[in-house]
Symmetry: C2
């Protein structure tokens, strides 16, 4: 017994020492994730934290869909019972994605209100989960007693900042985007000069015509307005829980570090703040050998090479008509095609195309993608030109950026014909322009002083080592909106100038009058 204890002690000591040398000391990390592709990205960070000897606990609800706690992993899961069932939650998401994908996008005035309605539903269901968690006194006590050193939260699923406040621990946000950058702007205090920073969901580039800049500003105003409204319910809930008046933006703004899941290959250069780091592509790794059957199929392509087609981790089925158009288009190209697809096998599927449930992105000729951020980064990492068929969320913007940078051709899922798809694939494969541009983006992605994953982990460890990173947080958080924009100062200075002009004019008129009077008297 004593020997076993000794052994355990030695092991613990070794782990502690490994940790000590890598980052100061072993930390205790709590994670607040979001489903689907968001989880793929966060998991890469959490696994690296575990590798470096930290303890990681992921907080998920009993309705969790994509995050699978049963898979063997060094990551611990804390599951809280939710008032929503898994089936309801999955149905919600399927409806959410489907509705958004097939929205009529032609008119700003119909598309955006419909989109806001859809987004609103997401925040409503997220609030339910958050309420379930906070009202679970037993779990909250357990979390309190676990003495976490930091919480890593996906900012698009609010709740992490509330936990950070309740548990009184530092907060690191992981974020791809908030619609219209509303959270980055109001929560993070990032400046967004609308003249050259295209607001996300506007699908614009950094070089805009006058009317595009008008469009950009309307987008910004629109999202600002709606997110103030959406957040009201959250702000009320946070205020009740914390027992003090607060807002969602204010609570989010308490983050020590924001890890944004893009970089300057996907994004256009724009202002940032010292507590923002751009760690896009952190989940990318060098290509691994393919499963045998897949490898043989790929090898059989010979000189022609392969094309990969994937619409991401969410969309499993297309309408039969769309699937057939895609299949018949793919049948027309000389390359072998790997298609990630879960639905019914299309009738027009050619012999050069095979369906798979999952595909790694190795040495491809072209990638037909829905434009999710993870997929885009895999294409950039491996230097593969893209045919983009965006569906919803940031995907249209991602493809718009890739098109602007000459690394992709864009198609529309609802309207594209077989010929459109064939031509687009041929174009990105045969025109060296696309390959050259994506290779340059790949160079940018690889040629960084520190790899994105290492930077993400560095900042989480930094926050654990020093119990925060307040020295990187701008004082803008302590100002009201009119103070932040210096409206009070501008008003005061204008008032001073006006008063001065008034006084000088008065004095001048007074003197003139005196002079005229004296003149008159003299004349008399």
């Amino acid at each position: 017994m004593n020997k076993m204890l000794m052994k355990q002690f030695s092991l613990l000591l070794l782990l502690q020492l490994t940790c000590y040398f890598s980052s100061g000391r072993c930390g205790n990390v709590l994670a607040w994730p979001v489903e689907y592709s968001h989880w793929i990205n966060m998991k890469a960070i959490l696994e690296e934290l575990v590798t470096r000897g930290h303890e990681v606990t992921v907080l998920i609800s009993s309705a969790s869909i994509f995050i699978d706690p049963s898979k063997p992993s060094a990551i611990k899961f804390e599951i809280y019972p939710a008032s929503v069932t898994k089936e309801e939650y999955e149905n919600f998401f399927m409806h959410f994605f489907g509705e958004w994908t097939y929205l009529e996008k032609n008119s700003f005035w119909t598309y955006f209100p419909a989109m806001i309605r859809i987004i609103r539903k997401y925040f409503e269901i997220s609030l339910k989960f958050c309420k379930d968690l906070v009202s679970n006194k037993k779990l909250m006590t357990k979390l309190q007693e676990s003495r976490f050193d930091v919480i890593l939260a996906d900012a698009v699923g609010p709740g992490g900042e509330l936990l950070a406040e309740i548990l009184n621990i530092p907060l690191v946000h992981s974020l791809r985007f908030y619609p219209g950058y509303a959270m980055e702007k109001h929560g993070g205090k990032l400046p967004f000069p609308l003249s050259y920073v295209p607001i996300i969901m506007s699908e614009l580039s950094d070089h805009m015509t006058f009317m595009e800049r008008v469009k950009n500003m309307i987008h910004a105003l629109y999202f600002d307005f709606w997110f103030q409204a959406i957040n009201e319910e959250w702000s009320q809930f946070y205020s009740e829980v914390l027992g003090k008046p607060t807002t969602l933006f204010e609570a989010m703004g308490k983050a020590d570090i924001w890890l944004i899941r893009t970089y300057w290959d996907l994004e256009f250069p724009r202002p940032l703040l010292p507590n923002f780091d751009f760690v896009g592509g952190l989940h990318c790794t060098p290509a691994k050998p393919l499963p045998k059957e897949m490898e043989e199929f790929v090898q059989s392509s010979g000189e022609n090479g392969i094309v990969v087609f994937s619409l991401g981790s969410i969309i499993r089925n297309l309408t039969e008509e769309r699937a057939n158009i895609i299949a018949s288009a793919l049948a027309q190209i000389p390359q072998k095609v790997l298609w990630r697809y879960n639905g019914k096998k299309p009738d027009t599927l050619g012999p050069n195309t095979r369906l798979y449930k999952w595909i790694p992105q190795n040495d491809l000729l072209a990638f037909i993608t829905h434009g999710g951020t993870n997929g885009i980064y895999e294409a950039i990492y491996h230097g593969v030109p893209m045919v983009g068929i965006p569906l919803f969320a940031d995907q249209p913007d991602n493809i718009a950026h890739m098109t602007a940078k000459g690394a992709a051709v864009r198609l529309d899922l609802k309207t594209m014909s077989r010929t459109d798809l064939v031509n687009a694939v041929k174009q990105v494969i045969n025109n060296p322009f696309y390959k050259e541009n994506v290779m340059w983006l790949s160079t940018i992605q690889h040629d960084q002083p520190v790899k994105p994953l290492d930077r993400a982990v560095f900042w989480i460890e930094f926050v654990m080592r020093h119990k925060g990173a307040k020295h990187l947080r701008p004082a803008a958080h302590d100002l009201t909106w009119y103070q932040y924009h210096s409206l009070d100062v501008i008003g005061f200075l204008l008032a001073c100038v006006a008063s001065s002009i008034f006084l000088v004019t008065k004095c001048f008129l007074f003197c003139c009058q005196k002079f005229v009077k004296t003149g008159k008297k003299k004349k008399e």
Copy 2:
């Protein structure tokens, strides 16, 4: 002969290989430095570049004072004849520093115009050097033929950006600050929200009262106005040389990377852009053993420890009265004092104080400093609390920042008494508040993902590898000032709103009139 050639060839090959592995390939760097402390900082970068196998050529005038090409070094110097003699140039600087140091600082309305006059003289003499260089056809041809890969230029001494344009090579700026951040704002397109970013030379912190924010805005407007005027002459000269209309701000804005010589320990967090990196303290290195005589003196201090007093690389003499006050104050403290001083030995010098021409900053108890950026960073690096006696330029701001962060006590050279100095030194030594705060700043400085010197070199090598870094440069550079501030868009939208209101009102009135008329008719 053949053997020697072989040997030389092998050596060359070895050097090329070293270089190949460290950064892709050996580069050819041209440097455009500024005198005094600026050179100390740039030299640290250049020496590192040489260590990594790059070839470095520094372009200096025959009047150069502080930059000594005769010292043995792997750095090459290209000296061009100047129309100003070394003596004239040194006299100019002594007058420049002396005048600025002893300016009456109490009133904004007298201090700033006097300061602008002094700064103007600096830019006038700098323009002379620049004209001397560009008109030297032989040298310009030689530079053209040298095929440099990049120019590293200290942005406070204009000329580097002109050379970059003429030689058609990428440009990396090294910069501490431009008065009022005029260049960072207009040349670099950095946003400066005046509500929480204290404009340099305002001596404010990031937490400002209403009146301080008013002061900050007045400072910004003041410097903007004056620097537009100062730059006019430069813009004219650049336009003539390049044969196209341009401005100094525009030419400076072509920089690929800006290496700012501060970090978030000295600075308050503020917005940056992807092509700005904050590499403050890159010249700092771990303490080296002291010369024997100095070490013995230091050792003799025993438990009391030592204090270092230095007013930087420029100020060599003080007035006799000031020197005596300082000497008598230093005589009153129990510590041993190392004083970096070149002037006449003060009569009141105590036995605990020794004068030196140069002092390394090792394990000190306290550092009495003028607050130059290099010195501040040495104090931060080694975690030494400061007594700040700022003289001119960014020194008052540096000390204001250190005071706001609780790492320094501030004194005024012109008015401080013996007691003031004694008390200040005792305070920073005996009150643990100062030591704790400066140790936190030291932690921030040391706990970075990549050391500042490595980051600086990385970006210079990046620019050489890829012939620029245009992907990090914001599109703001392609906009006019009113486009940048979206004034045209705001105007257009306001006009739209006004027109709508007008039309709606007109329609409403028209309908009302109709209604009234119909009513009247009915009545009739």
